[in-house]
Symmetry: C2
């Protein structure tokens, strides 16, 4: 992997890399924040999955996570939200399909299936790469994300027992099979049959018996996408039916923006640090 940029922040280093991805069959860019502790020892990593339209840049610039990661001794691994490039299929007039909207699935349908394999990329290829190349403790991982990335974090943690010690999400798309964002992408990437979509729907996965590692969700009550797209009530119902604990915090007055994430990212990273320390 090629180091594109390195910037000192809060005593550690915020790096950006590019590499040839075998999962996505294109060059992929990602960022890693290495806390000061990584200069002398390997550290655990929190993977951050971003939302629709984002690249690796939004979180590293807007969330204010690096200072907490520096305090807690956590690396942050921040992938892009889709494959990219002139050769990668896209729908330029839509922000919610194609580049910037990979939805963290392995696509099965043409023309998407060649490049849109973000699930494999995030759960397999990227961890193997960064754990081989950077001072990260192998296997000591947590995962978090926002909106489409909150969906991605929940699905990765539910489908891969043991891969992550903890999971959290900000305003996640809790039931993509039941909202237009999810239906639009899933019908394109996974085909017209909704039964195939259930493997990438957190509420369906819990209904079907999957159990998450320690889970924390924050959701703003003034979130402009709450009613139409996010459906936390579906996730809550799925957990309740299985008597699973769910720490879903409704945050009065907060919207869907990075100002909401910045308000609580410290608590999320503390959640992950506690779980990563225990293990």
């Amino acid at each position: 992997m090629e180091l594109l940029e390195t910037i000192k922040e809060s005593g550690g280093w915020l790096n950006r890399y590019r590499h040839a991805s075998s999962s996505c069959q294109c060059a992929m860019t990602f960022s890693v924040y290495l806390p000061p502790q990584a200069q002398t020892a390997k550290v655990p990593a929190v993977y951050w999955l971003s939302g629709l339209t984002c690249t690796d840049d939004n979180f590293r610039v807007k969330a204010g996570a690096q200072r907490y990661a520096a305090e807690l001794g956590l690396a942050l691994v921040i992938p892009d939200t889709s494959p990219r490039g002139a050769e990668v299929p896209d729908v330029p007039e839509r922000y919610d399909l194609g580049q910037g909207a990979g939805f963290y699935v392995n696509a099965t349908q043409a023309p998407w299936s060649r490049h849109y394999r973000m699930y494999d990329y995030v759960t397999r290829e990227l961890p193997a790469l960064v754990e081989a190349e950077l001072p990260l403790l192998p296997g000591l991982r947590a995962i978090s994300g926002h909106s489409m990335g909150g969906h991605g974090a929940l699905v990765c943690a539910l489908r891969e027992p043991g891969l992550y010690r903890s999971v959290s999400a900000f305003a996640p798309i809790c039931q993509p099979t039941g909202c237009s964002w999810g239906q639009g992408c899933f019908s394109a990437y996974l085909g017209a049959d909704p039964t195939a979509w259930r493997a990438y729907d957190a509420s369906c996965l819990i209904e079907a018996g999957a159990t998450p590692p320690p889970l924390l969700i924050d959701q703003g009550t003034a979130d402009e996408f709450l009613v139409e797209q996010l459906h936390p009530e579906a996730l809550a119902a799925a957990c309740a039916a299985r008597h699973l604990p769910l720490n879903l915090r409704l945050r009065e007055g907060y919207d869907h923006s990075y100002h909401f994430i910045a308000s609580f990212i410290g608590e999320h990273l503390a959640h992950h640090a506690a779980c990563l320390r225990e293990s």
Copy 2:
């Protein structure tokens, strides 16, 4: 003034306003963060002056200051960096002159002198407006800024004894009369005679006898503009000649970006909070 937007962050409210500015003879936009404490009592305010090319948006999105302001009970007042609008003179091909590059002076030269009166705007009009309209403690102010805005903060504090209880700066332009950024703007806004420039040069003001309130400066050693534009050594020499204390911290490896600001903004706000509490 008109409220354009309000977003909840860290328990307080990040607001954006527009008003007709008498100083700048145009509509001006600014942001204010009101911490949770402002819901029940008036609070002190830290004014933040941004650098070249910025609007009020950069600091509120990238610095991560709001969480510290919430902890410390400080409001943040974040003006634009110049007058704006189709009727305001500009040099679109230059990022370092005209709109986005007001340099916090009162221009005296055509065509700039009608609108480019950022010094009056920042030190007079804006404080009067926000202290009349918002829950701010009258007269309890501090000032800080970055690069061109660090210059602005130093100059405002040096020229206006009693107006600010404390001052700080990130990578300030310490001697604008001795660097191309400052010379370019000052010759346009203030005229060809360099003696007129000294009234807006922090190092010259200190040489001439001005004394700052408690002052904190952070400067990254890997700052790409350090050698050619910033000249902290001139400020240090001016302070040394007058036996003035100067807390100038050279930060190993940090650059000129908001990642540098985000790393230390908490310490700057703590400096201001301590001075504002004492008074």
